[in-house]
């Protein structure tokens, strides 16, 4: 299990050692080639998401009638799709969308899930029982099925997909956090804090949370990769983000009907999904090793 003493993030503001620690962390993360690859590709995608709008040679829905259905060329690196749109520009601009959707969804799910997990694990009793049984009932359904059920009720839109990601991942995050809390809360230093008369809130956020952070970082990275996958799957099923959004899953879905004519319009967004999901997973693997976290129950 994690060693809380080693991860004193709360003292990070105390300048020089903080910077050094970050570089030590980075060196350790990048030590293995697979982890370095994952992190590198992830950072690259992040940069593309941020600077995509400046780099894209064409508008996201700009339709060039005369250049429809063209194979990849110097003018159109990834070719053009059936409606004369530049696939490279769309993949590039879709990166920002997927980061916003999956990133924001993961952030919300992690924040809410962590709060609930901390509370549930620390307080125990009927609150813990009730919340965990409810989460168990949600987890009993496959994530995609739960997502489809929710979308069927909410109707397809970007905010619905965001909500679905949050709802599907809160129970998972909460469970992970709770299990760490349970193993930490009986330790002597928590006892000591309690004896000192510290408030519950202070114990939760200043004593227990730091112990949870390593596991949380890994979990957040994994959730992020699954969120990308979930958002793309929903796009592919046509129940998520609505056209003409450059959502990668939606692009694959739309290009499916014309795959005999414009295979490139299908392959490039599909490759982008795979590459990003793999890279985030590899990075999560690296984080796991650096933090020496064991997420297996």
């Amino acid at each position: 299990m994690a060693q809380p003493a080693k991860i004193q993030l709360r003292t990070g503001s105390a300048a020089p050692p903080g910077g050094q620690r970050f570089f030590a962390f980075l060196r350790s993360l990048l030590r293995r080639p697979t982890h370095a690859f994952g992190t590198g590709v992830f950072v690259l995608f992040l940069l593309l998401a941020v600077f995509g709008p400046m780099l894209a040679p064409y508008g996201v829905n700009q339709q060039i009638v005369a250049e429809a259905r063209q194979a990849p060329s110097a003018a159109h690196w990834f070719g053009t799709d059936r409606l004369g749109r530049d696939v490279f520009s769309r993949v590039l601009l879709g990166a920002a969308d997927i980061f916003a959707l999956a990133g924001l969804g993961t952030l919300l799910a992690v924040t809410i899930g962590t709060s609930l997990g901390l509370l549930s694990g620390y307080r125990g009793g009927w609150f813990d029982e009730l919340l965990m049984r409810f989460f168990d009932s949600l987890l009993a359904l496959p994530a995609l099925l739960l997502a489809l059920l929710l979308l069927g009720t909410l109707g397809p839109s970007q905010s619905s997909v965001l909500l679905v990601i949050v709802v599907v991942y809160i129970p998972i995050v909460a469970r992970v956090v709770r299990s760490v809390v349970l193993s930490v809360k009986t330790r002597a230093y928590i006892e000591a804090a309690r004896v000192q008369g510290e408030s519950s809130a202070r114990i939760l956020f200043r004593e227990i949370l730091p112990a949870v952070l390593p596991a949380l970082a890994v979990e957040a990275a994994l959730r992020f990769s699954y969120a990308i996958f979930l958002a793309s799957s929903l796009g592919y099923l046509g129940v998520g983000v609505q056209p003409p959004s450059p959502d990668w899953g939606l692009m694959v879905f739309e290009a499916r009907g014309t795959v005999s004519q414009t295979p490139w319009a299908l392959y490039f967004p599909a490759a982008a999904i795979s590459l990003l999901v793999i890279s985030v997973n590899l990075m999560a693997d690296g984080l796991k090793r650096v933090f020496q976290v064991n997420l297996e129950p």
């Binding site: 700009q62 429809a68 059936r82 004369g84 046509g238 056209p243």
Partner: protein, 508 residues
């Protein structure tokens, strides 16, 4: 010029270049007298086999091979032609139709076909208690009588200039008088059902007693059931089947220049329409739909969504397929974004107009929505697209409720159907909630007059009226696609693919 641009001609056969060369190089041998060989067709499986209940293309294809229609429609001229009825007379007042049947036609069980069978068939189809889809179609029939062994007389309550087309409705296949089980395949048609396995295929053999000399052209037909279009086309490419009807444009494109396969594309009168509700804001101001028409680039839509197949539309359901009724001089206004903007401003939307465009998730409809979104945005019409499964779009009549929607309409052999069910004030599917006194009276004239010249004139005026102030944008008419192995000849695709005659196809 790209080959598909020629497609605006009424009928255009697309044949692969290699085939054209082959056809020029050698003269085709004369067709054999007795049909031989097996034609293998890939199509969807059958759900219904009772002629009164069939609806899908594959169901109609089988029925058209096993049974006969009284009157058929010629795929090239779109005119009624004889089938079981050898000839017919229509009374001066247009109320009495007398048909003379072909002599010596037998059902597959050996019984002779007579006028009683025709009477029985149509009485069954129009029986209100049976609730068949044809009941309302034949409401106008007052009586059907056998006025001879081979003579049937239909009497109508009011004149119907399209009655012969109604008699050729997909369901109007003649079955034996008193048939108890109409799924018994006991027709008089060119093929006899040999074996039907609902999950796999239906095997037909040539009817040796068929009344048309030299037909059918092959000794056996196998209709093999496929669930997926791509698989059908792959089977054709691999030589496992010989004929594929109906496919998407990309799949059709992928068959061009494939050795051993000839492809055929014909225009139909099916179309997608974009319509704005005319009975409430913002559509109640006619300038809004006008602005939408002005903001629409039809050529770009035709090229992107239809890939140049079919024909460009002129905002009227009377397409070029109805040669005499179609008025090519009527054109919607050319694209003019500035004029569209100005009209919107006049209508009070100088800061732009925000609307949701609802569309079913089938065919090219989502693509049409995506293209319109871009085109209209230039004129300040901002649309959010809502792509919905068909059961959601059409469910609980939601499509009749929304302001802005895209709806697909299938091809019909005559245009009056669209006017009466979609555009007149009282139409059951008046999705645009359009109500225009002048239009209603023109539609009434066209649908009842027995004077062909008057009808042509009414249809022409209707097209002009719709281009000017109609509530719909019809950007294109669909094509119909088919592809057949070049070992066969005599294939003529129909706009409704299921009505394609298998009995004229033969081995070269």
């Amino acid at each position: 010029m790209k080959p598909w641009l020629k497609f605006t001609q009424p009928l255009f056969l697309v044949v692969t270049a290699s085939l054209l060369l082959a056809a020029c190089a050698s003269t085709a041998p004369a067709p054999s007298e007795t049909g031989e060989g097996t034609l293998r067709v890939a199509f969807q499986s059958l759900v219904q086999t009772d002629p009164a209940l069939i609806s899908s293309d594959s169901e109609v294809l089988v029925a058209n091979a096993v049974y006969d229609y009284l009157v058929d429609i010629d795929p090239l001229s779109n005119q009624p032609i004889p089938r079981l009825a050898r000839e017919w007379q229509i009374s001066e007042d247009g109320l009495t139709y007398t048909f003379t049947l072909v002599e010596g036609v037998t059902f597959h069980d050996g019984n002779l076909l007579s006028a009683a069978d025709v009477v029985w068939t149509f009485n069954r189809l129009r029986d209100p208690a049976a609730e068949y889809a044809t009941a309302s179609l034949y409401e106008n029939i007052a009586s059907i009588e056998a006025t001879g062994t081979l003579e049937v007389t239909f009497t109508l309550t009011s004149p119907n200039p399209f009655f012969l087309y109604d008699l050729s409705d997909n369901h109007a296949l003649i079955i034996k008088d008193g048939t108890e089980d109409a799924t018994d395949f006991n027709g008089s048609g060119p093929f006899v059902v040999e074996n039907y396995s609902a999950e796999d295929r239906i095997i037909l053999s040539a009817n040796p007693d068929y009344f048309v000399e030299g037909q059918p052209g092959v000794s056996h037909v196998e209709i093999i059931f496929f669930a997926d279009e791509t698989a059908m086309v792959d089977a054709l490419r691999g030589g496992q089947v010989d004929l594929v009807l109906r496919m998407s444009t990309p799949l059709f494109e992928s068959l061009q220049d494939v050795a051993g396969i000839q492809t055929m594309a014909i225009p139909t009168n099916g179309f997608d329409l974009v319509r704005l509700r005319a009975d409430r804001e913002p559509g109640s101001d006619p300038r809004v739909i006008q602005a939408m028409k002005l903001a629409t680039d039809r050529e770009a839509i035709f090229e992107l969504v239809q890939q140049g197949y079919g024909a460009i539309g002129n905002d009227s359901p009377i397409g070029p397929l109805y040669e005499a009724y179609f008025d090519p001089s009527v054109q919607p206004p050319a694209r003019d974004v500035e004029a569209a903007r100005a009209l919107l401003a006049e209508a009070g939307y100088e800061d732009g107009l925000d609307l949701t465009l609802h569309t079913p998730n089938t065919g090219g409809r989502p693509d049409l929505a995506a293209v319109l979104k871009e085109q209209w945005a230039e004129a300040g019409i901002n649309i959010e697209i809502s792509v919905e499964p068909e059961e959601v779009y059409y469910g609980e009549n939601g499509w009749l409720e929304v302001d802005l929607g895209i709806t697909g309409w299938g091809s019909r052999p005559y245009p009056q159907f669209y006017l009466d069910t979609m555009l007149v004030s009282e139409a059951i599917w008046n999705e645009a909630h359009f109500s225009d006194g002048e239009f209603d009276s023109l539609a009434e004239t066209a649908g009842t007059t027995l004077d062909e010249v008057e009808r042509v004139e009414a249809y022409s005026q209707i097209q002009a009226l719709l281009a000017e102030r109609g509530p719909v944008i019809i950007p294109y008419y669909f094509p119909q696609f088919g592809a057949i192995s070049d070992l066969f000849s005599g294939f003529q695709l129909e706009a409704f693919a299921g009505r394609t005659d298998l009995h004229t196809i033969r081995l070269k």
